[in-house]
C-alpha cells in the first residue's frame, strides 16, 4: 500500500458474506464484456453519500446479509449505515444501538459490528471522507468475476486494513426519515422473445408465484416456480443483455440479470424489470415469493419519473 496514507483506518475483524466497495458503476464497457456493476440499490447508495455530505459518486462499502465487523483506529469520524440493517457499535465493552440513516460519530478503538440486513439483502456503509480505493476504468466498483476495481477486485478479507484517503470534520447530527418499503409484485415490460412462449406459459408467468432461490448474487436472481415452456427454441443467437432482463433457461426457469451480469446471453428474454422497481427487486432475499405484472413502456417511464422525484426530494430535504 501507499506510504503517505492518512493515519486513520479500519481493521477487518470479520469480512461479512459479500462486502465490496461500490460507486455509481462503470459505463461504456459492455462491448468488451465488463458489466455496469455499481451499488445494487442505487437509492440507498445515494442516501448514504447524502448523509455523509459527500460527492454523490463517492465509494461506499456494500455488504449483503451479514455485514463486516470493523475496528476503527483514528480521529473521530462521521459514519452512517443505509438500508434495513441491524448493527451496533461496541465502545469500551458497551454495546451502543443506533439506527440507519443518521450521522454517527465513531471514536478511536470503536468496533462497528454490522450484524445483518433485515428481510433484505444489501446495506451500505458511508464515511464522512473517502476510503482509499483503486479505480479501474473510471470506477472503483469491485467486480469479483473480472477481478477489477477496489481491493484488487476482491471481497473484503479477514485481517485486512481499510485505509482512508481523508476524513472530514464531524458532521452535525442529522437524520433522514426513510422506510424501505418491500415489494412482491415486480413490474415488467414485455421482452423481445415474448412470442417464444405458449399462451399458457405466459399466463403462468404473469399470475403464478416464483420463489427466489439461494442461487442469487450480484450477477442475478434465479427463480423456481412453474416451468415456462418454450414453443420455439430454448436458445437464441447470443446477444446483448441489460440489468433487469428476465431470461428463461432451457430448463424453463427464469433468471433475472443484476448489476454484475454477463454482458451477452443466449436464452430468450421474456421480459425486463422496469427501472423504478430495480432497487427494491435486488433487496428481495432468497426464500421470498414474487409475482410479475406486465405494464407498458409509457407507464414505466412515468413511474420512473415519480421514483426519481421521490429520491431527489429525500436528498434535497436533507440538505
Amino acid at each position: 500500500m501507499k506510504k503517505n496514507m492518512n493515519k486513520n483506518y479500519f481493521e477487518v475483524l470479520r469480512p461479512g458474506i459479500n462486502s465490496t466497495f461500490q460507486d455509481n458503476g462503470r459505463n461504456n464497457f459492455y462491448h468488451i464484456g465488463i458489466p455496469f456493476s455499481g451499488a445494487m440499490d442505487n437509492r440507498n447508495f445515494l442516501l448514504a453519500n447524502t448523509i455523509s455530505n459527500n460527492e454523490i459518486n463517492n465509494p461506499v462499502l456494500e455488504f449483503a446479509y451479514q455485514g463486516p465487523k470493523l475496528k476503527y483506529i483514528g480521529e473521530n469520524i462521521s459514519i452512517n449505515v443505509t438500508g434495513d440493517v441491524n448493527f451496533k457499535i461496541i465502545r469500551k465493552n458497551k454495546n451502543l444501538e443506533f439506527s440507519c440513516y443518521e450521522n454517527i460519530i465513531l471514536e478511536n478503538n470503536d468496533c462497528l459490528d454490522i450484524l445483518s440486513t433485515n428481510r433484505s439483502v444489501y446495506g451500505y456503509l458511508s464515511i464522512g471522507g473517502t476510503f482509499e480505493v483503486d479505480y479501474y476504468l473510471n470506477s472503483c466498483s469491485t467486480n469479483t468475476k473480472a477481478k477489477i476495481g477496489a481491493n484488487s477486485g476482491e471481497k473484503l478479507e479477514k485481517g485486512q486494513i481499510i485505509h482512508l484517503k481523508y476524513i472530514k470534520k464531524i458532521l452535525p447530527k442529522n437524520k433522514i426519515e426513510y422506510l424501505n418499503s418491500k415489494i412482491e409484485n415486480i413490474r415488467i415490460i414485455k421482452g423481445p422473445h415474448f412470442d417464444y412462449f405458449s399462451k399458457d406459459a405466459i399466463d403462468s408467468f404473469l399470475s403464478d408465484e416464483f420463489n427466489v432461490t439461494k442461487l442469487s448474487d450480484r450477477m442475478g436472481i434465479r427463480l423456481k416456480g412453474p416451468k415456462i415452456s418454450n414453443i420455439k427454441n430454448t436458445n437464441i443467437k447470443s446477444e446483448g443483455l441489460v440489468k433487469g432482463v428476465i431470461q428463461i433457461t432451457a430448463d424453463g426457469d427464469p433468471i433475472i440479470m443484476l448489476s454484475d451480469h454477463g454482458t451477452i446471453g443466449g436464452y430468450p428474454k421474456i421480459g425486463v424489470v422496469i427501472s423504478a422497481d430495480y432497487d427494491k427487486l435486488v433487496q428481495i432475499p432468497p426464500g421470498s415469493k414474487i409475482k410479475f405484472r406486465e405494464i407498458n413502456l409509457k407507464d414505466a417511464e412515468t413511474i420512473f419519473k415519480l421514483y426519481e422525484m421521490e429520491t431527489q426530494n429525500l436528498i434535497s430535504n436533507f440538505k
Binding site: 468488451i32 464484456g33 447470443s238 443483455l241 451477452i264
Partner: protein, 224 residues
C-alpha cells in the same frame, strides 16, 4: 441495415439486423456501433454489438426510448469505419495437458488430431463480438469439417486462456470460468489484461484473428 428498433425494457434500445449469422450483417452491426461511439448522443450508457443485434442502454434520467430511437434512425453513417479493425496473431500450445477435448473431437468428427489442427490453423477468424465474461472474443467461421456440439455437461472450470470450439465458432476463455466448448489448446497471451486501464482487451469486434501453433517450450517462455 437496422430492420427494426424496439425497446428492451424502459432503458434500452434493441436494434435488430436480422436472424442470420454472417460477416456482412455483423459488419453492419459493428459499423453502427463505431458510429454510435463517436456520436455522443446524450444519455447512452452502453452499446453492445452481437452477431446480428445491437443493444443500446441509456440513462432514463437523461433521455428516453422515443428520443434515442429517433436519433439512431437519423444517424448518418460514416461508411467502412475499418481503421479500428486489426489483424492479431495468437499463439496456441496444443500440448496434451491443454487440449482437453481433442480425443473427444477425433471421435466426434472422425478425423485425426493432426488434420484437426491443420484445418484449425489454416484459417483466419473474424471477431463477431466480445463479452459474456470480460474480453472473451466470439470468433468465426470454423471450417465445416470441425463443426462440433458443446459438451453434454459443461465444465465447472475451464482453465484461463483455453481455446474452445463449437459449431461455427471458436473463442478464448479470458478467465477461468464455467463453459461447455471443446477445448483444443491454450494461449500464453493474456487477451484481457485487468492491469491495463485503457483498452484492456486485445481483441475487439471486427478484428481478424490468426492462430499459430507453438511448442510447450515456447509457451513456457512466453509466460515468463
Amino acid at each position: 441495415m437496422i430492420k427494426n428498433i424496439s425497446n428492451l425494457g424502459d432503458a434500452a434500445l434493441y436494434c435488430d439486423f436480422g436472424t442470420e449469422v454472417n460477416k456482412e450483417i455483423n459488419r453492419n452491426v459493428i459499423n453502427y456501433f463505431n458510429n454510435l461511439r463517436d456520436s455522443n448522443f446524450l444519455g447512452i450508457t452502453n452499446i453492445t454489438p452481437s452477431y446480428n443485434k445491437l443493444v443500446i442502454s441509456f440513462d432514463l434520467k437523461l433521455t428516453s426510448f422515443a428520443k434515442l430511437k429517433k436519433q439512431v434512425e437519423n444517424l448518418e453513417l460514416k461508411k467502412n469505419n475499418n481503421s479500428k479493425n486489426n489483424l492479431i496473431k495468437i499463439p496456441v500450445c496444443c500440448a496434451e495437458e491443454f487440449a482437453l477435448d481433442i480425443k473427444r473431437l477425433q471421435k466426434l468428427l472422425k478425423i485425426n488430431e493432426a488434420k484437426i489442427y491443420e484445418t484449425f490453423f489454416s484459417k483466419n477468424y473474424y471477431c463477431y463480438m466480445t463479452g459474456f465474461i470480460a474480453g472473451m472474443p466470439f470468433l468465426g467461421d470454423m471450417d465445416k469439417s470441425l463443426f462440433a456440439k458443446r459438451l453434454e455437461t459443461p465444465r465447472v472450470k475451464v482453465p484461463k486462456n483455453s481455446i474452445g470450439i463449437t459449431e461455427q465458432f471458436c473463442n478464448i476463455y479470458t478467465f477461468e470460468s464455467p463453459g461447455g466448448w471443446n477445448i483444443i489448446g491454450n494461449t500464453p497471451v493474456d487477451i484481457f489484461d485487468n492491469k491495463k486501464n485503457t483498452e484492456p482487451n486485445l481483441i475487439n469486434p471486427g478484428d481478424t484473428i490468426s492462430f499459430y501453433p507453438i511448442s510447450k517450450l515456447e509457451y513456457e517462455k512466453k509466460y515468463e
